[in-house]
């Protein structure tokens, strides 16, 4: 797929660094409707790039490119080593709306994986609280799958997941499997609907019911306001910020630190994040409009 005909790529590969613009071809192998406006796409990656793309770590993201439409950063929902690669996407913009119109067998371009991942190795032995809001569940899915697969590596594992309404809760079959694997999964919705017997409210309420000890670590992904509320609730109960990780979102054009669009204070969300430990960016989280 390398298209550089000049000396540039040769020099770049000779010294190690990658070109940011090298794409793999992905074929949509399956599409699943998860929730209103949310679909999961299983992407079969061309053979020459398959190993690299499937070797992602939980919390990393790929750039999905539709020529003529644009490119979007989408977190990787499938765990390391899994192929096809899974992306769960809410149709909210140009690229994601276009993607929503694509079918099994259609091609798109993909590059990645990019960014820092959830520190699961570092958290071996911890009691994990994984808090997700809305489509943010996609970016913690791989971490939850890893925790379910390697259940003995962690103490307690609780997944706290909130969505607007019951029909917005997705990954229902995953949730059943996670529970079967010994994970606690608690669900909450902002607005109940007929048949909903669970709690109504926001994710931080679910956190209140979880023990927080010296062994607790929290990882969270969702709207910034939700992550802020989760951190406030956790810190109020004594969790040190060094035990709290969150995944940030910003606009990106390159994903490799060149385009400058994703800056958050001095951090590039694409390469210094998207996963940050709270204390590393706490001072910037407090500043409006940064």
């Amino acid at each position: 797929m390398s298209w550089f005909v000049g000396t540039a790529t040769a020099a770049a590969t000779a010294t190690g660094p990658l070109s940011p613009w090298e794409y793999a071809r992905a074929t949509i192998a399956a599409v699943r409707d998860d929730a209103p406006g949310v679909r999961s796409y299983s992407l079969a990656i061309d053979e020459s790039h398959r190993d690299r793309l499937a070797a992602s770590q939980p919390g990393q993201f790929n750039m999905l490119y539709l020529p003529g439409i644009g490119e979007a950063a989408i977190s990787i929902a499938s765990p390391p080593g899994e192929h096809p690669v899974l992306h769960t996407v809410r149709a909210v913009g140009n690229v994601t709306n276009h993607l929503a119109g694509m079918r099994v067998g259609d091609d798109l371009l993909i590059r990645g994986p990019y960014g820092r991942h959830w520190p699961l190795e570092e958290l071996a032995g911890a009691d994990l609280i994984i808090a997700a809001g809305g489509v943010g569940l996609a970016s913690v899915r791989a971490a939850v799958c890893q925790a379910a697969k390697h259940r003995d590596r962690f103490g307690g594992v609780a997944v706290l997941y909130g969505a607007k309404t019951p029909e917005d809760l997705f990954y229902q079959s995953d949730i059943a499997q996670w529970r079967a694997a010994g994970l606690t999964v608690e669900l909450i919705v902002d607005r109940a609907a007929a048949g909903w017997e669970g709690p109504v409210g926001f994710v931080p309420q679910l956190l209140e019911q979880q023990p927080i000890t010296a062994a607790t670590a929290v990882i969270t992904c969702g709207p910034e306001v939700m992550m802020r509320a989760v951190s406030t609730a956790a810190f109020a109960r004594g969790l040190p910020p060094e035990r709290f990780w969150l995944s940030m979102e910003r606009n990106m054009a390159c994903a490799t630190g060149f385009c400058g669009l994703c800056q958050f204070g001095p951090e590039f969300v694409c390469k210094d994040g998207p996963v940050f430990r709270h204390d590393q960016i706490a001072r910037y989280l407090e500043v409006p409009n940064l």
Partner: protein
């Protein structure tokens, strides 16, 4: 390189320099006057250099004035820099074609022409080194920048004057050119001392230097003295004064028919702990104050020799089957820069100016181990309302101590 390789040329020999560079396969790019400013563009004739012109610069002010005695390089930084050539304002980065439902990437047939740029100053070479760090020295390499950079030949020039907007001395980026050149010209009297900085430089000038007087120790000392004199003059400048808010209010600025360019304040910037100073003052009142004056036009980011933000536009033909991807400069002063699906990360001018200044002078240090500012002063000159980053930093420092 040994000092003995340095030699003298006269202004009349400059054409031979152009000819040697072209004979070596380079397109020559040099300063020239266009629309009342000294810009860089293709130039084949030394006669096209801005002979006899000096640039007067101040906040929001740039005028060329005639000085019959002035040589071809008496101007200092204009609106262009090496960035325009290595990381051009707009470039095609990829082309795609859909064939039988499948996207194929077209090979880029066009490889960049080797460029020899005549005239960059110490601040420009400092900016080049900074852009090298951004584009070449991380985990990824920008292939487009690299392809041009590898073929770049630099004929640097030592300044012997500074505009009122220059503060390279504060940023340790000048005024003396010390590295990063293939050839270096230092104007001494009516002539130039030519020093060789690379193998490529030596090769190109083999013919040019033939028959020219070689430089003695004393000649090189005279060349060094040019920069030393300028450096001490710049160092003797006072720190940029902070004007009272009333003098820089939008009303006061619009009431002033001409900027105070007859005796403009000379700039300098106190960089002591500047990273912490700025990152500890992200909610300082001054950001709102500057936002009252800032038009968010993005001129500062366009003329800055190190600003590297960019976005990619998909340009498709009517069939949608042929797509060209164009990368163009982006500016943190635009709404698009901070756009996310949930809203804008930086919805106000205050937040955008803060992003620019704190990135340039503070965040850059975290990201690339260097300030993003070279003290070239372009952002001061080309700001339509004359916002001066040295004054803004001084104001924050003053209010923080």
């Amino acid at each position: 390189m040994p000092d003995s390789s340095a030699f003298w040329i006269s202004q009349a020999d400059l054409q031979r320099l152009f000819d040697c560079l072209r004979a070596a396969g380079f397109q020559t790019v040099a300063p020239q006057v266009r629309d009342g400013a000294v810009v860089y563009d293709r130039l084949d004739e030394a006669a096209g250099l801005p002979h006899g012109l000096v640039d007067e610069q101040d906040g929001g002010y740039y005028r060329l004035t005639h000085h019959p005695d002035a040589g071809p390089f008496e101007h200092v930084a204009g609106p262009h820099s090496l960035k325009n050539f290595l990381f051009p304002p707009r470039e095609t980065i990829q082309q795609w074609r859909r064939q039988e439902g499948s996207w194929q990437q077209l090979a880029d047939a066009e490889s960049p022409q080797p460029l020899a740029v005549i005239g960059p100053r110490a601040c420009d070479l400092a900016a080049l080194a900074i852009q090298d760090r951004v584009f070449l020295e991380g985990d990824y390499v920008d292939p487009f920048y690299l392809a041009r950079r590898k073929q770049l030949f630099v004929v640097a020039v030592n300044c012997r004057r500074a505009a009122a907007t220059c503060f390279c001395h504060s940023m340790n980026c000048g005024p003396e050119v010390t590295a990063g050149y293939d050839l270096l010209l230092t104007p001494v009297g009516e002539r130039f001392v030519v020093e060789i900085g690379s193998e490529a430089g030596a090769t190109v000038v083999a013919e040019l230097s033939d028959g020219q007087p070689t430089c003695a120790e004393s000649d090189l000392a005279a060349a060094r003295e040019v920069s030393r004199e300028l450096a001490s003059a710049m160092a003797a400048r006072p720190t940029t004064p902070v004007r009272p808010a009333a003098e820089v209010s939008p009303q006061a600025l619009s009431a002033a028919s001409t900027p105070p360019h007859t005796d403009p304040p000379h700039r300098s910037l106190d960089t002591k702990n500047i990273r912490d100073l700025l990152l500890n003052n992200l909610e300082h009142d001054r950001w709102q104050d500057v936002a009252e004056r800032c038009l968010a036009c993005g001129n500062c980011t366009m003329v800055c020799p190190t600003c590297f933000c960019s976005s990619v536009t998909e340009v498709a033909d009517l069939s949608g089957d042929n797509v060209v991807r164009e990368r163009q400069w982006a500016s943190c002063f635009t709404a698009e820069h901070g756009q996310m699906h949930g809203g804008n990360a930086r919805p106000t001018t205050a937040s955008r100016y803060r992003q620019w200044l704190t990135h340039k002078l503070a965040g850059w240090i975290d990201q690339f181990g260097t300030s993003g500012c070279t003290g070239c002063g372009r952002c001061i000159t080309w700001c339509p309302v004359g916002i001066d980053l040295t004054e803004e930093v001084a104001a924050i420092r003053e209010a923080s101590t």
